[in-house]
Symmetry: C2
DNA sequence: CAAACATATGAATAATTGTTCATATGACAG
DNA sequence: CTGTCATATGAACAATTATTCATATGTTTG
């Protein structure tokens, strides 16, 4: 198979990596759907407002209005972001009368934030 | 201080969280600049192309062209993304003649990806 | 030096996204 | 039921971003 047989994809003169590495990588690479889900998850962390929300919830469960006041932002903005956090299962909530209390869903949140902090601290 | 004294920020009837929790949270909250850096870092993970790149580099150090071929994408697209990964210090590189070999910079990358995978696997 | 190859980069475009504003839903008190 | 409070949501706008295309930089070979 020569270079001219594959005009759609650019190719370098020769592939540097060994064939068994190519096989290993393609075998161990998660499926596209999983990779999209993973990117979607990290996109939730990719906003400082949502990170702030996660930080305050790390301190204590809290209602929407309290979070808004603590962060000096509108109730609407916080509610929108809480929805994103909820859909990604990073926070959970319980209703108590008119008030809805949010809290962290599990330890992955804390671990991921901590690893990120470690990385930028270098 | 009554509600009317703070017209800029919406307030709920009363703050639910105890004052010491408010103090604790505001004290432990990282500064705004740190939070922006953290969000910027996670934004790098928030794209499936970059995640794919990190995955193939987890298998082996690799040159730009090899990555492009493995992922079926153009050299330019990969190079742009590698720049983002490089600026975030998630990958490092070494030059060998015309070729530039990229590899993972440290273990935080692997840990963060693994934690993310665990989370979406639930 | 020139030609060829690997990589990097700038500009442009299409798509995504965070906030605001207005309004809707839901719960409780009277 | 009505009014009020807490929260949720839809539409719109501004800002950000991933890819493509064209081209530039840098290295090696002859």
């Amino acid at each position: 198979m020569t270079r001219e047989d594959l005009p759609e994809v650019e190719r370098c003169e020769f592939i540097h990596v060994h064939e068994d590495i190519v096989k290993k990588v393609t075998r161990e690479m998660p499926g596209d759907e999983t990779l999209y889900d993973l990117a979607d998850l990290f996109r939730i962390f990719a906003d400082s407002t949502r990170i702030k929300i996660l930080y305050v919830l790390y301190g204590s469960e809290m209602c929407v209005c309290d979070i808004a006041q603590l962060l000096g932002m509108t109730q609407s903005a916080i509610s929108h972001q809480l929805r994103a956090l909820k859909q990604s299962k990073l926070v959970k909530y319980r209703r108590e009368g008119k008030t809805v209390f949010y809290s962290l869903a599990d330890d992955h949140v804390v671990t991921i934030l901590a690893q990120g902090m470690e990385h930028i601290a270098e």
